[in-house]
């Protein structure tokens, strides 16, 4: 079953541990500027919003890639960059409306979140997210949970109205 990386911005505390964990996992060094997940901090508004690749069903980065270097990993359903095929043309960078795929000059290849190709365990960023602003969930369960959350709110409203 496909898994999704669920982001709950309202739970995020802006500690950026996810950025550190991501850069360590993929580069072996701590460097937030190389993290595939970024915490966008709006200090004044007390809003901290992590953003990363949403693994679009119709992925523009994959569609536009002239060498078919961006493919879907069948186990996790995450889009990954095949280094051997990527020529660093940056078409994907231009195509992604979310800025979720970038080119790292040292490698000359595109880089993006691949959910750490985790099947059983959590991706590295999720492991370090204590407030659970990031969760790695089964897609179907996540949808069902959101339906239930909406239903619970409605239930409270109905109670207030009927009483």
């Amino acid at each position: 079953m496909a898994k999704v990386l669920v982001i709950h911005p309202e739970r995020c505390t802006a500690c950026r541990a996810c950025e550190l964990a991501c850069s360590m996992k993929h580069y072996g060094e701590f460097n937030p500027s190389r993290s595939r997940i970024q915490v966008n901090i709006f200090l004044e508004e007390a809003l901290y919003i992590p953003t990363t690749c949403t693994q679009c069903d119709q992925a523009w980065c994959a569609k536009i890639c002239p060498t078919n270097a961006i493919v879907r990993d069948q186990a996790t359903m995450a889009y990954i960059v095949v280094d051997d095929k990527c020529v660093g043309c940056k078409m994907c960078v231009l195509a992604c409306p979310f800025g979720s795929i970038v080119l790292f000059p040292e490698k000359g290849k595109a880089e993006k979140c691949d959910h750490c190709l985790s099947i059983d365990g959590d991706p590295e960023c999720v492991k370090f997210c204590t407030p659970k602003a990031l969760e790695y969930l089964d897609e179907d369960n996540e949808v069902r949970m959101r339906q239930m959350a909406t239903a619970l709110k409605l239930k409270e409203t109905f109670k207030e109205v009927t009483v």
């Binding site: 500690c15 541990a17 550190l20 204590t130």
Partner: protein, 600 residues
Amino acid sequence: MGGWQGQILRVNLTKGTCKKEKLDPKLARAYIGGRGLGTKMLFDEVSPAVDPLSPNNKLIMATGPLTGTNASTGGRYMVITKSPLTGAIACSNSGGYIGAEIKFCGYDLIVFEGRAKSPVYLWLNNDRVEIRPADKVWGKTTHETEDRLKAETHDEAKVCSIGPAGEKLALIASVMNDKHRAAGRSGVGAVMGSKNLKAVVVKGFQSVKVARPKEFMAACRAVVKKLAESPVTGGGLPKYGTPILVNVINAHGFLPTRNFQQGQFEGADKVSGETIADTILLKNKGCFACTIACARVTEVKEGKYKGAGEGPEYESGWALGIATGVSDLAAVTKANYLCNELGMDTIEAGVAVATAMELFEKGYIPQKDIGRPLRFGDGDALVWLIEEMGYRRGFGELVAQGGYRVAEKYGHPELFMGAKKQAFPAYDGRGAQGMALGYATSNRGACHLRGYTISVEVFGIPQKMDPFLTQGKAGVSKLFQDVTAFVDSCGICLFTTFGIGADDIHPMLEHATGAGYTLEECLKIGERIWNMERLFNLKAGLSGKDDTLPPRILKEPIPEGPAKGMVGKLHEMLPEYYKLRGWDASGVPSKAKLKELALG
């Protein structure tokens, strides 16, 4: 080796030069980083007798080897200098993001020397360095300074700066970073002001490497798990923040009220962590890499004290509220915001106001000197005076020098509640004997972050000890002081120690640096740092005679409540403490001890 970036930046403000130097690996190994390494460098380069506000004093911003890593809370930086408030060593510790950003520029420490001819700020743009004019932001609040300098450099740059208080050399001035985080104590902001250094602006894109990544991450994950499972670091702190202590300490009867005239505050519940969570709290927030997230992001939505920011933290809310007898949470919060924006230590500011209030109520300060009545519990007077202090206007000019100077000027230095001219924090030493000893012996003057015996005396971490008894407190104080020096030097937050011990921190340090540290050695380094700070103070002219407390704490019993009748029994603990430290009866480290610590 990893953890350290291996590079120091030396900025000479008199000459306008910036020089990159190699970090001496032997020195780093022996003093770890942050507080330890910064103090060692200050001691080696500056005479402890130096006038703190002269160009000969230096100001060091130091990170630790765990700063900028996944070690939980690994984002700390410290400001080390000789304090103009106490005349002793100063090391003020802050979170936020700037510490990690300094590492991402490739530096472990920044040393500031001399004095610029006119106001400047330092712009660390990854591997480039620039000293730029700061005339446009001179006189501005820390918040406005941060916004303007980000606009001038990089949107996501991290900034630390001084406010008007630091510019005007107020002895209680702080260095603020990321708007709401403070290197608060001992007047480090005044030293920055004396150098005409308004701000440091930082943006880096470099990596922090560790020696053994796999082992390091496993150690970090184990710590994150322990912190999440602890009722303090995983429960109370994220939910209610540090102000959860208001009701706890009040119930114990040693919540210092109205300049330590009482041990319980009838308005405690109005300024408690629970009330803050129910009323003004928007969200809890973490500093860099912090999985605890105790910061309070707050907003006072309406009324004359409308505003937004962070805080009040426990110590800040206590000093500005309970010590002054003010139970109006909106006024206390406003005073806290003002301290942050004008760049003043909240503890020192609150206690200074409380000192002035007692002196006024007792008739020692004439109303004409103040310009208005200044009574305990008057929130309007508090907010008014804090602003006057921040800009050093009128009566505020004196009060911004701290409570000691106020009490001394009006002929009653005994009414200043502090040690070594630095104000007490939010625990009455009469009710918690370990804190009494800690305040008297702290190298930077009265402080709760140098040996937090409340951990054993209230929380029972790692084991419970009766707060009213003196037995065993000398040993606990010494141990906590040494462990704290070690923790600070690593670059992580002391709050981790509510959930983990030195034996959890040691693996992170060792796998980060690969330097071959043993746990025993880590504690020895803590002791080395403590003794080095002591030597600095002795050479600066302090002595064992300064290891004392005001007569109110030593002689006047707490008048009511659970701690009724208690006084600070320093004489029962101090000789034992000196002995355990290997110091002589006058508080001077023995030759044998210095040799043992490689300080002789």
